[in-house]
């Protein structure tokens, strides 16, 4: 404490020093001009067109080297001659030249710059930077783009819109998660998740779900970002290169996503209401076998397996009830029954905002209810309150901004996704309910899929994100500020397995089988970031200096318990009614993080910009002596359009060349991994609770590092109506923290350690924006993004001898899969044939999986159009991706087993001489080599999954002539309406046969403001 006091004293000393020094600087300047008569003091104020005082406006006396800056209240005073000319300039405003003309008081109003560049101010996290002057690569999506999309998660609204950002929705089930990577996969192991920061508060993107509870419905993954209503967001910035991310040090390797919520604006109090209703259906159904085709293949399969005689023997009917005891003429389209419903989404949002010059506020509340395409009453509900308050003191020195976001989500779903059942259930499977309305088990021969609806999954989560930003300007160009953040995420989920959902033939009762699994988890974190910033200007030099430090702590707890044995199924929700209660998990973790960071930005002549950023990080995830790491970057920009040859160009309005180089790191490896520990498992043996060794420990591991290089060219033509940005990047990740697979003889499957391997991601990104036409009644703009990424493993010491030898190849991407090469079906034997690469006469995984396919996208992007005609607005956006993916053969490639299949498997071999694409049917009863499994792991199971998707289309009508205050918009939106693809599986974007594909949605909405 004493130390801190001393340091505090020293800090005030600096402030004092600065306060004393500054006047002298001005004095010198005055002294230098002393001899030029006649001089007078000119004073005045600078305001913007709304009458707001403008602080920090650069003020120069033309033809003399005298300058100053406007104060916080917009006032200035400067010594100048009566015939001098004053030049006012500021980012985002048109430069203004005002002759003094003998006046002693000059008040000016600065006009905002109409060009896009000046207007756009980007949030770079710890600081803001104008689009024009940024040295780094920051992509942004603004509120107006997100408002047009009827989605529940901000990540969904970003899909395809930003170059270099690849987002895939994991499931069409509401409340599920997303996979996101920014500029490719950097690490062989470990998450590619970027760092998410909401209003200055880092949000862990890791789910607190328990696989015991939600594994089968959401894939275990619940995105904590679901808590953020896309309509509450003002902007999302994605930091991509070293210049932008290095200030986030060890957490910036995978990029940074900054989410800023909406704030109140000066002006009259406004009310805004938004209502919308959507209908959603699954985007695509598979074409499956009908009953006749299915049974034909089944019989053929049993006969081919050598059980033809048994087929006629009633004693064996039990082995194939679908062929022998079920109705052979019955047909049900199970996709229609199980995932063919319509999902409804209703959304209501009310907000009120306004404020005086000194205090502004915004309060917004929303409620959303979404049902599913599954049968039954499953639904997802979300209620959300977002508030923001900002205030500044009279003299403008003190500012405070408070933002708080609270969300409650309730998700009630069947406990498993019915999609894979819908694809595989026999087409002649019997009635779902018997005459009395009970589940039909067809004499215990039918695992009724509707039983899953009696098994419930429920999840209630609450999220609180709160941030306070306090700042005090000690001097117009020196500010101290502190950002305080708090985040809490609580999750309660359960899963019930009642005995009534199980085939009664198994003789299970509530007493012996019914169970309830409960997961209670919460995560809490706080962050404090004191900072000081200093923005002096000397003549042609603009300097920005920032220095700050971070303290962050995060704790998480999870408690999973299961009760088994109930007097009856009605009491299943009550753990107290269970005869046995087991604790499956009782865990906690703590993460502490601290850092010091800084930035120096020098802008010379408004055209040469140097940006230096750095951070020293300490993390509790590493063992003693390895907790700290240093990261930093240098960024440069040259606004060559300011140079002579282009200064008055009629066509080139903007030109910038920029580059950056630096290092970031990653500590995204989980807590406590350096400790040698024993875990409490929650089980016991003979009354003694069990401790099991956690794993093989390695105390010596350290930071993964990631070096980023970027070169970018930004051009603006015709007063910036056409904007083109191209960037090239090369990111190299080394010192890879890998769970090195170990032979099972070690007792474990992996060991975490730093491996001398380097992964390189290179790529080109293109962003094009064009204002095709801009008139009073008609406007047309167009946007286009394209990303061409390439991933490569460029070094891996000792790969050949390592346990990765079978998975990766130096010079190839990490995303490759090694496959057999399918040679089709032998017309004589009817069996799949494969290339025997090593020529040993056998097809084995060791030597014959030599066919390589890369499953990462070759390129991706989107293009959108925005057309405005009078009160009508039309906006549409296409997303495209060129890629390959596993097709339906990956799941099953031989017809004849007891499951339905895609219709293409009908083309099977039947007799010698047949040229078929599918091998002879088999019911899976025959011994011998499983060539079907080889086919599923061959190149035949990979096909083109490129697509162009009309991600979003919006037609908006603004009701005219309703008076000044009233503003009404009616809109019709479509999401995923149309997809062009050759892919034969359910959804090219998420090529899975077990998860619900994305929905196609149609939304009608009304927005009302007054």
């Amino acid at each position: 404490m004493q130390l801190i006091t001393i340091r505090m004293r020293r800090a005030s000393l600096f402030v004092l020093l600065y306060a004393l020094l500054m006047p002298f600087c001005t004095f010198y300047m005055q002294a230098g001009t002393f001899l030029e008569p006649p001089q007078a003091t000119v004073s005045g104020t600078v305001t913007d067109s709304a009458g707001e005082p403008l602080a920090g406006v650069n003020l120069v006396v033309e033809s003399k080297d005298i300058g100053t800056m406007s104060g916080l209240d917009g006032s200035f005073s400067i010594t100048a001659g009566p015939s001098d000319v004053l030049v006012f300039s500021m980012v985002g405003f048109k430069t203004l030249t005002v002759p003094i003309a003998g006046r002693e008081e000059v008040s000016v109003i600065m006009e905002e710059d109409v060009t896009v560049l000046g207007e756009v101010v980007l949030n770079a996290g710890y600081y803001t930077v104008s689009e024009r002057e940024r040295t780094g690569n920051i992509a942004t999506i603004k509120a107006e783009m997100m408002e047009k999309q009827p989605v529940g998660n901000p990540l969904a609204a970003m899909q395809g819109q930003l170059s270099g950002v690849n987002i895939v929705q994991n499931t069409g089930v509401p409340g599920g998660g997303f996979t996101i990577d920014i500029r490719g996969r950097n690490f062989i192991n470990g998450a590619s998740d970027p760092l998410f920061i909401v209003d200055g508060v880092p949000i862990s993107s890791q789910s607190l779900g328990s696989n015991d509870v939600s594994g089968q419905i959401l894939g275990g993954n619940t995105s904590p970002l679901n808590a953020i209503n896309p309509n509450d967001i003002e902007s999302i910035e994605v930091l991509k290169d070293a210049d932008a991310t290095a200030i986030y040090g060890s957490r910036g390797a995978n990029g940074v996503v900054l989410i800023t919520t909406k704030k109140g604006r000066v002006g009259e109090t406004r009310f805004n209401a938004q209502m919308s209703s959507s209908l959603g259906r699954v985007t695509n159904f598979l074409e499956l076998l009908n009953t006749q085709q299915y049974l034909e293949l089944r019989r053929e399969g049993v006969v081919n397996d050598g059980f033809g005689d048994f087929l006629e023997n009633p004693a064996f009917d039990f082995a194939w009830p679908d062929i022998k005891t079920w109705d052979n003429d019955r047909y049900t389209d199970w996709q229609e029954e199980l995932i063919g419903g319509t999902a409804y989404r209703n959304n209501l949002q009310l907000s009120v905002s306004g404020g005086s010059e000194r205090t502004q506020f915004l309060i917004s509340g929303s409620y959303l209810k979404e049902t599913t395409v599954f049968p039954g009453d499953a639904n997802y509900k979300k209620a959300n309150v977002n508030s923001n308050l900002s205030h500044r003191s009279d003299n403008g020195r003190f500012k405070i901004n408070l933002s708080t976001l609270y969300t409650r989500e309730d998700n009630l779903m069947p406990r498993s996704d019915l999609t894979s059942v819908a694809y595989t259930l026999e087409p002649n499977a019997p009635e779902i309910y018997d005459d009395e309305g009970n589940l039909n088990w067809e004499d215990n021969t039918f695992d009724n899929p509707f039983a899953a609806l009696e098994e419930r999954f429920g999840q209630a989560s609450q999220t609180l994100i709160s941030n306070a930003l306090l700042s005090y300007a000690l001097w117009p160009d020196l500010e101290v500020r502190t950002s305080l953040g708090y985040n809490r995420y609580q999750l309660d989920s359960y899963r019930t397995l009642p005995s009534s959902a199980v085939n009664p033939g198994r003789g299970l009762t509530p007493q012996t089988y019914s169970s309830l699994t409960l997961n209670t988890a919460d995560r809490e974190s706080w962050i404090v970031e004191p900072q000081i910033s200093w923005n002096p200007t000397w003549n042609t030099f603009d300097v920005e200096v920032l220095l700050g430090t971070t303290f962050q702590k995060e704790t998480a707890q999870q408690f999973v318990q299961r009760g088994t044995g109930y007097p009856n199924d009605l009491l299943i929700q009550n753990l107290a009614a269970a005869s046995t209660v087991e604790v499956l998990g009782d865990t906690d973790s703590e993460y502490a993080y601290t850092a010091v960071f800084g930035r120096v930005n020098v802008n010379f002549l408004d055209r040469y910009i140097l940006n230096l950023t750095g951070r020293r990080d300490g993390s509790s995830r590493f063992g003693p002596g390895r907790q700290f790491g240093n990261f930093g970057a240098v960024g440069l920009a040259w606004l060559f359009s300011e140079e002579k040859p282009f200064a008055n160009s009629s066509w080139l309005s903007f030109g910038k060349l920029r580059g950056s180089y630096g290092t970031t790191g990653s500590d995204n490896i989980g807590d406590y991994r350096f400790l040698d520990t024993y875990d409490v498992t929650g089980f016991d043996y003979n009354g003694i609770s069990i401790l099991e060794p956690t794993g093989i420990f390695n105390p010596l591991f350290g930071w993964e590092s990631n070096t980023k290089l970027e070169v970018g060219l930004e051009l603006g033509f015709f007063r910036d109506r056409l904007r083109l940005e191209t960037s090239f990047f090369r990111n190299r990740s080394s010192n890879q923290l890998i769970g090195i697979p170990l032979a099972a003889t070690t007792g474990f499957s992996e060991l975490t350690g730093n491996f001398d391997a380097t992964v390189e991601n290179t790529g080109v990104e293109v962003d094009l924006n064009a204002m095709m036409f801009q008139g009073k009644d008609f406007g047309w703009s167009t946007r286009f993004t394209l990303t061409v990424p390439e991933n490569k493993l460029i070094a891996f010491d000792g790969l050949e001898d390592s346990t990765f030898a079978d998975r990766y190849i130096i010079g190839e991407p990490l995303t490759i899969v090694r496959l057999y090469e399918s040679l089709g079906v032998d017309p004589e034997t009817g069996i799949y044939q494969f290339e025997d690469f090593n020529g040993d006469g056998e097809i084995t995984s060791l030597g014959d999986r030599e066919w390589l396919e890369d499953l990462a996208p070759e390129f991706y992007g989107g293009f959108g159009q925005n057309i405005r005609w009078g009160n009508l607005g039309l906006d549409f956006f296409f997303q495209f991706k060129k890629q390959k993916a596993y097709n339906e053969l990956r799941a099953f490639s031989v017809p004849g087993a007891r499951r339905n299949l895609p219709i293409r498997l009908l083309d099977r071999w039947q007799e010698p001489g047949d040229e078929a694409t599918v091998q002879l049917a088999s019911a899976g009863l025959a011994p011998g080599e499983d060539t079907g499994a080889l086919q599923s792991r061959s190149n035949a199971a990979v096909s083109d999954a490129s697509f162009i998707r009309l991600r979003n289309i919006t037609l908006n009508y603004r009701v005219p002539n309703l008076g000044d205050r009233l503003d009404i918009n009616v809109y019709l939106q479509g999401q995923n309406l149309w997809t062009i693809t050759d892919y034969t599986g359910p959804d090219p974007e998420q090529p899975s046969t077990v998860r619900l594909p994305q929905l196609r949605q149609l939304t009608l909405g009304l927005q009302l403001g007054f």
Partner: protein, 456 residues
């Protein structure tokens, strides 16, 4: 710019504020730092409990893919009626190196061995335990290490014998010749017996291993490696210490006097996984049924046929199947009546009978054999030839120890009768099937394990 330089101390200042103390965190409540585990008897017992729990839950001994069922269908004890692909491979003798059951046996086995080795190493470095405690715990861990290796060598032949926790050594380890593996097992067991002998181990319902449990395995290993004297002497010690349960109906109850080691089930109401797997409650729905050849092996009047097997027919009586009914309590039982038995005295009688017969003590051999036969309600055998007597002992082992941890399969292998018995029963039989293949993914990770067992 001077001020810029003045700001430098700030960087230093802020740097020290972000001090290293801040990033030191306490370990979480659900873990214990390893050294501390071995400073307290109760936490060591928790670590040992993990071994028994793992053996019971998943792996070769008990559980869903234990030897009882899977070596039963691989050999001539059980027929398989369901369609698990990996099980079908075993039943039809079309096993591939990708078989997931084999990978499970291999990985789970070595996982338990690691845990045992970690306890042994931890005990050696421990400071908070008495010498008595260290000896007893070490004996238990050594027993488990030997036991798991005995199961692995039984199905895979040459396997690595892992005695350290050093992953660098273990990940590149090579296979040890079968004979040497058995030598190491016997050495570990002899040490375990010595360490635990006389120790007061609270075994409860005989659910925790003690010196007698180590002896039971030692006798079995001595028999498998034809160390007849050791086998006879060790089994003899157990026969002197335990009674043979006279009532066939009580042999598999948890109180059975002849039980040497059994697994305590998951909770106070649970019974055995064996009953749930083997008892056929409905046809259709059958999974494992006794083979006709096993049923034929029972002599007329054998009480075990009546008491330890049962049969069931489907609704219209067209199909009747027999099933093992040693364990009877199903999971809808409301009390814990039976535990999974790992070692019981009848096996020791038959071990000593065989060892004595091999040593030429035919009287003693007949005596031991008849003890088991008489309990089953069968008369004495009076065979005089050594070969005939041995045959009678093998036959007795088959009907006494059927559907118990694949002992039948081990007998066929060790007595060299596998081909003779199996070839007529399994169309795909090859002589090389006496060994199962090493899991392929493990050969990929550790090429030192090559070559694969012959025939795969």
């Amino acid at each position: 710019m001077g001020l810029m330089w003045k700001a430098c101390p700030w960087i230093v200042l802020l740097g020290t504020l972000g001090c290293s103390d801040f990033v030191e965190v306490d370990p979480p409540k659900n873990t214990l730092v390893a050294q501390r585990v071995f400073d307290d008897p109760s936490t060591v017992e928790s670590a040992l409990a993990n071994l028994y729990f793992s053996l019971r839950e998943d792996g070769m001994v008990s559980g869903n893919s234990g030897f009882t069922t899977l070596l039963g269908i691989y050999a001539d004890e059980l027929d398989y009626y369901a369609f698990n692909g990996d099980f079908v491979q075993l039943y039809r003798h079309t096993v591939t190196p990708q078989n997931a059951v084999l990978l499970g046996w291999w990985t789970q086995g070595y996982q338990v061995i690691y845990a045992a080795n970690d306890i042994i190493a931890g005990l050696e470095a421990s400071e908070g335990l008495s010498a008595m405690e260290v000896e007893r715990y070490k004996g238990q861990a050594l027993f488990v290490r030997a036991y798991v290796h005995s199961l692995l060598v039984g199905v895979f032949g040459d396997v690595p014998y892992i005695t350290t926790t050093d992953y660098v050594v273990n990940t590149n380890t090579s296979r040890l010749e079968t004979a040497l593996v058995y030598e190491a097992i016997v050495a570990d067991l002899e040490q375990a017996v010595a360490l635990m002998d006389g120790a007061d181990i609270p075994v409860g319902d005989r659910v925790v291993p003690d010196a007698d449990v180590a002896r039971a395995l030692l006798a079995r290993m001595a028999l498998y490696t034809q160390q007849w004297e050791l086998a006879a002497a060790t089994a003899g010690e157990l026969i002197a210490a335990f009674p043979l349960e006279p009532d066939l109906d009580r042999v598999f109850l948890k109180e059975s006097g002849e039980t040497i080691w059994q697994f305590k089930p998951g909770n106070d109401l649970s019974n055995t996984q064996e009953a749930n797997q083997l008892v056929i409650q409905f046809i259709p729905g059958q999974r494992f049924a006794l083979t006709p050849s096993l049923l034929d092996a029972f002599e007329v009047g054998d009480g075990r046929l009546e008491r330890w097997t049962d049969e069931i027919s489907d609704a219209d009586g067209t199909l009747t199947l027999s099933y093992a009914h040693k364990y009877k309590a199903l999971f809808n039982e409301t009390a814990s009546l039976e535990h999974s038995i790992v070692f019981r005295l009848a096996e020791q009688y038959l071990i000593r009978a065989e060892a004595r017969a091999q040593l030429g003590n035919l009287d003693g051999a007949r005596q031991d054999l008849n003890a088991v036969r008489n309990r089953a309600g069968l008369g004495d055998v009076n065979l005089v030839g050594q070969t005939e007597l041995l045959e009678a002992i093998y036959q007795e082992r088959r009907v006494e120890l059927f559907a118990e941890q694949g002992l039948r399969w081990m007998d066929l292998k060790r007595t060299g009768r596998a081909t003779e018995v199996m070839a007529p029963l399994k169309a795909n039989w090859e002589d090389t099937h006496v060994l199962l293949p090493i899991p392929e993914s493990e050969l990929e990770i550790n090429p030192n394990l090559l070559p694969q067992n012959p025939g795969y």
